[in-house]
Structures are given as structure tokens and as C-alpha cells.
């Protein structure tokens, strides 16, 4: 459901990107990838899971390198492909080991097998590590994040948006499923939660710190999306029904918000041809509505109410506190402060600085209809999640229940 929605939005954004919108193949690829994601989220068999992951990834490799005559796009696609192939190989190795130890590919049976102590703890942890490499790549956890900034920067903006949201959410779906089902039921969980907590901390901190120094908006968003993966991981680490619910809720909010953010970037770069943050100066005068949308998106990313990001963060932290991982909640809190800093810096440029020569009046930014619709829908969505969060939370809760 979610992925289809994300794909639809991405489609709207793609329509107006030259060399992308006019080529039917791109939509096909997008749909194929979406199909893969849906499979990813619902698969309960290792083979199925792996197939789904590849179904998702391969169209995306192509999409990110789609603009053949743009060097950066090509580079981006290639990089993504290399990294992706390598990590999925590692993951596949992990899967096969898992099969080897347990003799089954069904997740629930694996869980039973592990619970039945047919696999030693050390082995299981080894396997987990291998699988984590693959999934960590998908959700861009540190230290498997290196591809993200380059790919996002090079890929066509709507694709980057899709990569950073839907693809990541799918990765999380698998992650949650695997860890909550397969590796839940014995003394393993304390070991991997600690490991994941460390990873989450690293991811958040590194993502935010590096994002602070960026001058390119897409790279900034890339690092910020790394950081957000870290926040979402907090929910996974909390390892409870609330944790799962909060991860899913977080992802809903995050997808909406980040899609909006990339959408805005796409609109802007189409007109100005630039992704530099400094070029956003005077945006609020050139297009108040676009600026407003950006305000909504960035404040939501920063975790300010009444937008989705705030509520989502609160739930994630609540889960952490409940799991007695108060230190992790504090890490999250401190990181969100770092986040506020760079998000506000961007907004400062948008609202405060003026274009050279104060010539905003003569440089309006027209909004085409597809963009307009998409942005309005996304902004309202972000706002709705942030205020009337009960139904969304209910849906997340229902999804989370399936896991247990």
C-alpha cells in the first residue's frame, strides 16, 4: 500500500523531468521495483525474500543510471550497482548458511529451529552479521552507507527520492520481519539488540554530523536519510510491539516527508538547474508556496510538531524508554538537535537570504500541476500524520501485530 503510494508520487514527480518523463521504460521499471517491494514486505520465505530484494534493486540500478548522457547519473547507477551486487552477495551467503544450519527456508521454521538450539549462538550471530550487511546496505546503515550520497546526488531527483524512501522502507520491512520473527525467540535478542543499538547510534550521529557540512541539498538529504534510518533503528532495537509499531509509523511519516523534500528539490533544480543550497536564497519570495512546502517538509524532518516527524520521533523514543534503553533515547535526542541545526540552516537560506540583486520578482518558480498536486497531498499528509495520528498509528499497530 505504502509503496504504491510512494511510487505514485514519484511518478508525478518524474513526469516533468526531461529525458525521464517521456520514456515509458522508466515507469515500467518503477512499477517493477514497487512490485518487488511489496513482495519484500510480505515474503516469509528466504528464497522469496531474496528474489523480492533483487526485483526491487535491479530496476533501481537502472533508474539511477537512467540519464545516460549525464556522467554523474551514470556513475551513480554504477556505484549503486556495484555496492548492491556485492552486499546482496554477502546477504545471499548469509541466507544460504541459514538454510544450511536449519534446513528450511521458511522464516517461522527457522525461528523454531533457532529456538530449538540447533544453531549455536556464535553461528547465529555470524549469520545475522552477514544478513545485516545486505539489509544495512538497503537502508543505508553506517558503515554500509557510502553509496547513498553519491547515488542520490547523481540519480534523477525523483528516483533519488524513491530510493531514499520506498526502497529504504522496504529494507526496514525485511529487517523487522527477519529480526522479529527469525531471530527473536531465544537468548539471542540481547546480543543483537546491543549490536543494532550501536549501529543505530553510529548511523544517526554520522549521518547528522556529515549532513551539517553539506552544501549540496541532495547530499544533505542523503545524509539526513542515513540519520533517519538510525532513528528508525531505535524502534527496531526496542524490540517490542510498540517498537515495531513505532518503526512502521516512523516510516510512514518519513516516506511522506522525504518524498516531499525530494519533490521540492526536483522542482527547484528543474527551474534553476542547481542543487546548491546557497542557490535557494530568496526562494520564499520567488515562490511562497514552494517555500511553505519546504518548511513543512524540513520541519517534519527536524521533528517539530504539528508535523509527522515529531510524533514519529516521540513514538520511537517512547519505545526506547520503555525498553529501558534511556541512553539510546538520549542519543536520539541529541542527534535530533544536530538535525534541527542543519534543517534550520537550509530554511534560513530559503526564508532569510535574498537572491543576488534582490531580483526575486523576475525569477518566479512555476509549479506544474503534477508537482502541485503531489506536493499538496504530501504536505497535507505530513500535517495529518502529525495531528490526527490515531488512524495511522492504528494501521501501524495492526501491521506490527502480524509480526508476533
Amino acid at each position: 500500500m505504502l509503496f504504491i503510494f510512494a511510487a505514485a508520487m514519484t511518478t508525478l514527480f518524474m513526469m516533468d523531468v526531461e529525458k525521464l518523463g517521456r520514456r515509458g521504460e522508466s515507469y515500467l521499471l518503477l512499477l517493477a521495483s514497487t512490485l518487488g517491494m511489496n513482495l519484500m514486505a510480505s515474503a516469509s520465505d528466504l528464497v522469496m525474500l531474496y528474489l523480492a530484494i533483487e526485483t526491487t534493486s535491479i530496476p533501481l540500478y537502472v533508474l539511477s543510471g537512467f540519464m545516460v548522457d549525464d556522467e554523474k547519473s551514470t556513475e551513480s547507477g554504477f556505484k549503486y550497482l556495484l555496492f548492491g551486487a556485492m552486499t546482496s552477495a554477502v546477504m545471499l551467503y548469509g541466507f544460504s548458511l541459514l538454510f544450511g544450519f536449519t534446513g528450511t527456508t521458511n522464516l517461522y521454521e527457522i525461528a523454531a529451529a533457532i529456538a530449538g538450539a540447533q544453531v549455536s549462538t556464535v553461528t547465529a550471530l555470524g549469520v545475522i552479521t552477514l544478513i545485516l550487511v545486505g539489509l544495512g546496505f538497503k537502508v543505508s546503515l553506517v558503515p554500509f552507507h557510502f553509496w547513498a550520497p553519491d547515488t542520490y546526488e547523481g540519480a534523477p531527483t525523483p528516483v533519488a527520492g524513491f530510493l531514499s524512501t520506498a526502497s529504504k522502507a522496504a529494507g526496514f520491512a525485511v529487517l523487522v520481519r527477519l529480526f522479529f520473527i527469525a531471530f527473536a525467540k531465544n537468548g539471542l535478542s540481547p546480543d543483537w539488540t546491543t549490536g543494532l543499538a550501536v549501529l543505530a547510534t553510529l548511523t544517526m550521529t554520522l549521518g547528522n554530523l556529515v549532513a551539517m557540512t553539506q552544501t549540496n541539498i541532495k547530499r544533505l538529504l542523503a545524509y539526513s536519510s542515513i540519520a533517519h534510518a538510525g532513528y528508525a533503528m531505535i524502534g527496531v532495537v526496542a524490540f517490542s510491539d510498540l517498537g515495531a509499531t513505532s518503526v512502521i509509523f516512523y516510516l510512514i511519516a518519513y516516506i511522506l516527508t522525504n518524498l516531499a523534500a525530494f519533490g521540492i528539490v526536483a522542482v527547484f533544480s528543474r527551474v534553476s538547474g542547481s542543487d546548491r543550497i546557497a542557490d535557494y536564497a530568496g526562494l520564499s519570495r520567488r515562490s511562497p508556496w514552494l517555500a511553505m512546502a519546504m518548511l513543512v517538509a524540513f520541519l517534519s524532518l527536524a521533528g517539530m510538531p504539528p508535523f509527522g516527524g515529531f510524533v514519529a520521533k516521540v513514538f520511537v523514543f517512547a519505545a526506547a524508554v520503555k525498553a529501558d534503553m534511556i541512553w539510546l533515547a538520549f542519543v536520539g535526542v541529541i542527534n535530533s538537535i544536530l538535525g534541527v541545526y542543519y534543517y534550520l540552516t537550509v530554511l534560513k537560506v530559503v526564508y532569510l537570504y535574498r537572491m543576488e540583486g534582490e531580483a526575486e520578482e523576475s525569477h518566479p518558480i512555476p509549479l506544474t500541476r503534477p508537482y502541485g498536486i503531489a506536493l499538496v497531498v504530501l504536505s497535507l499528509g505530513v500535517l495529518l500524520i502529525g495531528t490526527l495520528f490515531a488512524p495511522w498509528f492504528g494501521a501501524s499497530g495492526a501491521a506490527a501485530l502480524n509480526l508476533f
Binding site: 518548511l295 510538531p305 516521540v314 523514543f317 517512547a318 524508554v321 538520549f330 538537535i337 532569510l352 490515531a390
Partner: protein, 504 residues
């Protein structure tokens, strides 16, 4: 179902903000009309709540409204006021109303004055801020309290960064936002901890503060969490040593925002620190009250000293706010009836007073383009009305009897006497210092001969400015002469706090 008056108060500014954003940018008059109408309506509603508040009923919260929000986690939209928050709701109404008046944008002769750059966005952000502030004062749900708290914080960034004083606005806005955000998220973690602890002890998942009040957290839990929760909020209250965002913020902010900032936002911090820190963790409060008292005492004296050193009017007022908010904290830290009552009244009194200060300072700055005290002079000849207003504000600030400042400060000091007489004596140094810097400022800015370069450039304040000044002064003198219009109400709130503190 009673008439949802508190929800109206909270959401009217928000709705007005949206309406304003939908009005085309060129139609400034309509924007202003919407702003003024909403502000007036809100002020009337707030006054209605204040008047209708039943002082004799010591039952705690009144005008309570509850809406289910997220039942799974026990989050509900629950509003209600007690004797502590009702005056603050009124205060917010007053500051909002006067803030709109003084940022009007045209003077009596239809010349541009006040906020010129994108007034639509300015008013919209200001109103979102107001909504958040109302929300915090009225919320009885811990989650919603945070929700509105953050809403109140983030528009500040834009308001200061966009419309602020060019030289320091970026720095100040970022500093302010980060400080406040740090404080609030730290408190948030504490609040979540309380939430789960209450769940463990009562078995009910709820952010409802009335339930959390009854949770009886274990002593060591309270002792451990009081500090992060209390200080997280107290940052916004400008408590020493986390005060240093505040003067910078004041200086950089445009006039109406300074009024809001010092007048209302700082109260928000103190109020939330009281509501969440002291009321939900009473044992923790008892344990740590010495520390709060010490820091507040330092803030009181230190703030006054630094204010004394300033030559920029806004810095002076900014540090005086630190000093006065220190008094609020001092009153809170006494945890006894007189001290808390004083703190409650002081929040209101200081809010009105400092709003007036910033309003007049803004009027002077708009005309002279300087806030440096040595560069100003002779203002009373040109703007006698504003100078009388400033003088009245000054007298309130000095704690002069007959004005609200005295009514507020006196019980605070009395409360401190109960606990630590030495501190009462030390803190009273600030009174002399305050008198000295306020008088010096009045003398220099208003009564000294006007510098030549200003001669002929200064005009009198507008009718709207005068209305704003009169409104503010009325409250200060009214309470000063008739403390019974506010004090008994605050006391009902205090009774409630004392009950939680175990009748201490």
C-alpha cells in the same frame, strides 16, 4: 458537553494563520484585519475564562474538555485551566492583542511603519506561536503539552531570523532554537520515562496529567528524573546558567516577537517546569529545591548586575528578564504557599511589564534607529505617552508598591524567608540594582536633552501604540492596587500544587 471555550482559544490563532496565508500577499489590510479580529476575539475569550473561573471551588481544573486522540497510547486532547494557568492564558491574550497593534504596519497618517516585509507571513507565524503558547497553558495531557510546546518554539526561529535585527538575527535565532530544543527534548525523554513508570505502577497507559499526578513515582525515580525534566523546561524560563540564549534572542527579535518571547514564552518554560517538573515529581522537587533556589538566586542578582552594565536598551531589558524570571524560579523553589503564589503573580506581572518595555523600546528604535542608551535622549518631549508607559513599566520592574511587581515580588521574598533567610537578603540586592538601571535608563532616554542628530526625526507614537500601552498599563496598576483580582485565583492553583507536595 460544555462550550469548548479553551479549544477555541487555542485553535483560533491557528485558523487565523491559515486564513491569512490564503489571502493574497498584496492585500495587507485584509491580513491585518483578520489578525486583529482573531487577537481581539481571543483576548475576549481569555478574559471570559478568567472572569468565569470559579475561585471558590478548590477542585482544581476548570473548563475541562477531553477528546480522544490516540487511545492506544492514552493520548487525549485534554484542556483545562487552574489558578496558575488562567492568568497566563489571559496574559497570552493580552500580549497577542498588543503585539498585533504595535506591528500594525501603518501609522496614523497612513505612512508605513512597523512590519513591512511580508506581513502576511509574519502575522501567520506569530499566530501559530500564539496557538502553541495557549495550548501549553491549557493542556492537561503531557503529550499534547509537548506538542504545543514545540509548536511554540519553532516559529520563533523564523520570526527572529527573518524579521529580526539584521546584525545578530541569524546567530541569535539559531542559538535560541537550539537551546530551547535541547531543553525540550531532554524533558521529553523524562516525560516518556514518567509515562512508562506510571504504566508500571498503575497499569493504565495514559499521558493524562491528572492521572500522572496520582502515580506516586518511587523516590529515587523522582530524584533521578526531576533534574532533566525541570531544567529542560527551565531553559526556556531563562534559568541560570542556561539563560544566555535569552538576551541575544530578545535583542535580535522584532518588537512584537520580543514581547511574546519575554512576555509569554519565558513563562511557558517556568510554567511547564512547574506543571511537569514540580507537580508530577513532587518528591524530586523537594529533594532538589535547594539547587533550583541557589541557581535562581544567582540568576536574580547576576541578571540585575549584567543588566546594569548594558548600554543597549534591549540587552538591558533582556537581562532584567533573566533577573525577574529568576524571581519566578525562586518563588517556585520555595515550594510553600506564599512563594508559589508570588511566582504565579510574578509570571503575569513580568509578562505584561516586559511586553510593555519591549513595545516602547521598539517604538523608539523604529524612530531613532538606535537602541544605544548613550545615543538617545529627550524622548519624553516627543512621545510623552510612551514615556509614561515606560516609566510605569519601570516602576513595576523595580517592585514599587502600588504596582503589580510589588504584589508579586513581596510574597516571593516572604516565601524565601521561610526557607533561607540569607538568600532573601542577598537576592534583595537585585531590587536596588534594578532601580538603578531602570532609573538611569529612564533618565537618559527620556529626559536628557535630545541629541542633535535625532532632532526633528522623531515622531510621536500612533494611536494603536497608545491603545496597546494603555491596555498593558491597566493590568499592571489594577493588580497593584487590587491584588484580590488575581491573587486568590493563583492561590487556588497553589493549593493544588501544595496538595501534590503532600501538604508541605
Amino acid at each position: 458537553m460544555t462550550f469548548p471555550i479553551l479549544s477555541l482559544i487555542v485553535f483560533i490563532p491557528m485558523v487565523a494563520a491559515v486564513i491569512m496565508l490564503l489571502i493574497p500577499a498584496e492585500r495587507r489590510n485584509e491580513t491585518r484585519a483578520v489578525a486583529l479580529a482573531a487577537a481581539t476575539f481571543d483576548l475576549l475569550l481569555a478574559a471570559w475564562v478568567y472572569v468565569q473561573y470559579l475561585v471558590n471551588e478548590m477542585t482544581g481544573y476548570q473548563f475541562v474538555e477531553t477528546y480522544r486522540w490516540l487511545p492506544q497510547l492514552g493520548i487525549s486532547l485534554k484542556f483545562g485551566v487552574d489558578g496558575m494557568s488562567a492568568p497566563l492564558v489571559l496574559l497570552t491574550g493580552i500580549v497577542m492583542f498588543t503585539g498585533v497593534l504595535i506591528s500594525w504596519g501603518v501609522d496614523d497618517n497612513h505612512h508605513p511603519a512597523g512590519i513591512q516585509d511580508r506581513p502576511r507571513e509574519f502575522f501567520a507565524f506569530l499566530f501559530i506561536l500564539a496557538s502553541g503558547v495557549f495550548g501549553v497553558f491549557a493542556s492537561l495531557d503531557l503529550f499534547m503539552l509537548f506538542f504545543f510546546y514545540e509548536i511554540a518554539v519553532f516559529p520563533m526561529y523564523l520570526l527572529i531570523a527573518i524579521w529580526g535585527w539584521v546584525k545578530t538575527r541569524e546567530y541569535a535565532a539559531m542559538k535560541l532554537t537550539l537551546y530551547l530544543f535541547v531543553g525540550s527534548v531532554i524533558s521529553l525523554v523524562g516525560a516518556l520515562a514518567m509515562y512508562w513508570a506510571a504504566y508500571q505502577s498503575t497499569g493504565v497507559l495514559s499521558f493524562d496529567m491528572l492521572l500522572l499526578e496520582k502515580a506516586n513515582f518511587p523516590l529515587n525515580f523522582q530524584v533521578a528524573w526531576f533534574l532533566p525534566v525541570f531544567f529542560g523546561f527551565a531553559v526556556l524560563g531563562g534559568i541560570f546558567p542556561f539563560h544566555n540564549w535569552s538576551p541575544d534572542g530578545h535583542v535580535a527579535a522584532p518588537t512584537a516577537v520580543s514581547m511574546f518571547h519575554a512576555g509569554v514564552l519565558m513563562k511557558l518554560g517556568a510554567f511547564a517546569a512547574l506543571r511537569v517538573g514540580i507537580m508530577l515529581l513532587p518528591e524530586g522537587a523537594k529533594y532538589w529545591s535547594w539547587l533550583v533556589m541557589l541557581l535562581a538566586g544567582i540568576a536574580v542578582v547576576y541578571g540585575a548586575f549584567i543588566a546594569f552594565q548594558q548600554t543597549d536598551m534591549k540587552y538591558m531589558i533582556g537581562f532584567s528578564s533573566v533577573s525577574h524570571m529568576g524571581l519566578v524560579m525562586l518563588g517556585l523553589s520555595t515550594l510553600n504557599k506564599t512563594g508559589l503564589t508570588g511566582a504565579g503573580v510574578q509570571m503575569f506581572s513580568h509578562g505584561v511589564m516586559t511586553a510593555l518595555f519591549f513595545a516602547v523600546t521598539g517604538m523608539i528604535y523604529d524612530r531613532s534607529h538606535t537602541r544605544q542608551i548613550p545615543e538617545l535622549g529627550g524622548m519624553n518631549k516627543i512621545m510623552p505617552f510612551a514615556s509614561v508607559g515606560f516609566i510605569i513599566g519601570g516602576l513595576v520592574s523595580m517592585g514599587m508598591p502600588g504596582f503589580s511587581g510589588f504584589i508579586a515580588e513581596f510574597p516571593i521574598f516572604m516565601g524565601v524567608w521561610h526557607v533561607n533567610s540569607l538568600l532573601a537578603i542577598v537576592a534583595s540586592i537585585s531590587i536596588v540594582l534594578t532601580a538603578a538601571y531602570i532609573l538611569r535608563n529612564i533618565r537618559d532616554v527620556f529626559f536628557r536633552p535630545m541629541p542633535d542628530n535625532l532632532e526633528g526625526h522623531i515622531t510621536d507614537v500612533t494611536v494603536l501604540d497608545k491603545i496597546a500601552i494603555v491596555t498593558l498599563c491597566t493590568f499592571m496598576i489594577g493588580i497593584g492596587l487590587f491584588p484580590s483580582v488575581m491573587v486568590p485565583m493563583v492561590q487556588t492553583g497553589v493549593e493544588n500544587i501544595l496538595r501534590l507536595l503532600g501538604g508541605a
